[in-house]
């Protein structure tokens, strides 16, 4: 029994990991794109991007998942995402990436704006190019500033992946829950907590190491 529960939970957890990994893969760069928009000199662009960020950060991810999954179908009148599980999965990833990219963009922005102006001015006065100033002076300071808040978001994402369940993506909570219906046992659902704990524990350790690595200087 335990074996088959584990096998099923492992399968669900693999999906959880996929959501987690793909979300980060998409949200890291998309967050950068958004931060270029939200700090742009072009006022209309800046306002539009800031409005989008405000909406995404101000509404629940669960709602966003539902809107992205059901919204196109309601407007276009047919089932946009198809009826397969891969369609639901894609919809979930899109919602997660957009949501997390907005949070990341705000963290990037804080990190960039937190570097004192004097740093780039010191570089300019020393005849450094803009590119050199960014890569040799600013970048590492930004990274050091954003690692702790990014770490928090990443740990939150571990748990947020379970929200994909609302559009029937078979992640680990879903796997645990099926045992209630099929065999009437509830402990597999509770046991999913162990997976989450182990995974977020490992991430916490890795993030801690990264922070420590960057401790050789202070900003």
């Amino acid at each position: 029994m335990f074996q088959s529960v584990l096998a099923s939970l492992n399968e669900g957890f693999l999906r959880t990991l996929e959501i987690f990994g793909l979300t980060l893969l998409g949200a890291f760069p998309l967050g950068l794109v958004i931060v270029f928009g939200s700090t742009s000199q072009l006022r209309p662009l800046r306002y539009v991007v800031k409005f989008i960020v405000w909406v995404v950060r101000g509404t629940p991810l669960m709602l966003q998942l539902l809107i992205i999954y059901y919204g196109p179908g309601l407007i276009l009148g047919n089932n946009w995402w198809g009826s397969s599980s891969s369609g639901r999965f894609t919809a979930a990833i899109i919602a997660f990436v957009i949501n997390y990219a907005c949070y990341f963009s705000e963290i990037y922005r804080g990190g960039i704006e937190g570097v004192p102006k004097g740093q780039s001015e010191a570089g300019q006065v020393l005849g450094m190019t803009k590119r050199q100033i960014f890569s040799r002076v600013i970048l590492l300071q930004v990274i050091k500033r954003i690692v702790p808040p990014m770490g928090n978001e990443i740990i939150t994402l571990v748990k947020d992946t379970s929200l994909a369940r609302v559009i029937a993506v078979y992640e680990i909570i879903w796997s645990g829950q099926t045992f209630i219906k099929s065999t009437g046992i509830i402990w597999p659902l509770f046991f999913t907590g162990v997976y989450y704990l182990l995974f977020s524990g490992i991430l916490t350790i890795l993030l801690g190491r990264l922070e420590k690595k960057l401790n050789f200087f202070r900003v």
Partner: protein, 261 residues
């Protein structure tokens, strides 16, 4: 020999005119001290010299070459400005050391990056980098930090950080070294060590423009003193003239505030 000529510099931020027709000249090896109350435009003047701000009118001439002329409408490219900046060095009030580099790394960084632009860099980079490293170590020795070269800025006191910043500015051998209140951010007991370094540079005939509130220091070290108020050069002359027999009402009132020191 005249190293620096500043002619009729004016600078506006929006509608406020911060520098009004400012000018002075500086001979090789001379030190000019710029004094004046808060908001009189001293920092803005240094920022104009270092091309961090663009004057609205006037000229900046170094060694007889017109580096900047507001009336010529030739648009300077980013790269042109970068080259022009190398004639000047700037030591900031707040040091602005790069925190992720050691003292030595701070002094070497810009030189190493500039060296890459040299035609012979690829064939000769070991020798070039060695010269840069030795030069940087020498400079840190000169400012009394030979035992702190491998430390990061946060491991240094304010006075030590400012001395690293001075060495960093010297590393590119600018024609004119500018200081913007180099001791204002320091605890009183640390100002002495920084002033001593600047004094030793003056003794070795480094051409310098020093904005300072340390009147005694200005009097001792400067060859010329410029008093600024409200964006104008109100009075200039030798330290004896400006501190000893100020002619302008505004200068007298400003100096009275320091007379009991």
């Amino acid at each position: 020999m005249i190293v620096l000529e500043v002619k009729n510099i004016s600078k506006r931020f929006g509608n406020t005119e911060v520098l009004k027709d400012v000018g002075f000249t500086l001979e090789k090896g001379e030190v000019i001290a710029i004094i004046g109350s808060s908001g009189s435009g001293k920092t803005t003047l240094l920022r104009c010299l270092n091309f961090l701000e663009t004057p609205n009118s006037g000229q900046i001439i170094v060694n007889g070459k017109i580096l900047f002329d507001a009336s010529s409408h030739k648009l300077l490219s980013e790269n042109d400005i970068r080259k022009l900046r190398l004639h000047f060095g700037l030591v900031f009030q707040s040091f602005n050391l790069f925190p992720q580099y050691t003292a030595l790394g701070n002094v070497k960084l810009a030189g190493e990056l500039l060296a890459k632009e040299r035609g012979d860099y690829n064939n000769n980079h070991k020798a070039i980098l060695k010269v840069i490293d030795e030069n940087a170590s020498d400079l840190l020795r000169q400012v009394g930090l030979s035992d702190k070269m491998q430390l990061y800025p946060h491991q240094l006191s304010g006075g030590q950080q400012q001395r690293v910043a001075i060495a960093r500015a010297l590393a590119l051998s600018p024609d004119v070294l500018c200081f913007d209140e180099p001791t204002s951010a320091l605890d009183p007991e640390l100002t002495g060590e920084v002033l001593k370094v600047i004094r030793s540079l003056a003794d070795r005939n480094t051409t310098m423009v020093i904005v300072t509130h340390e009147m005694q220091f200005a009097r001792d070290v400067a060859d010329k003193v410029v008093f600024m108020d409200d964006g104008f050069v109100v009075e200039s002359g030798t330290p004896e003239e400006v501190f000893g027999q100020p002619k302008q009402e505004r200068t007298i009132r400003f100096l009275e505030r320091y007379s009991n020191l």
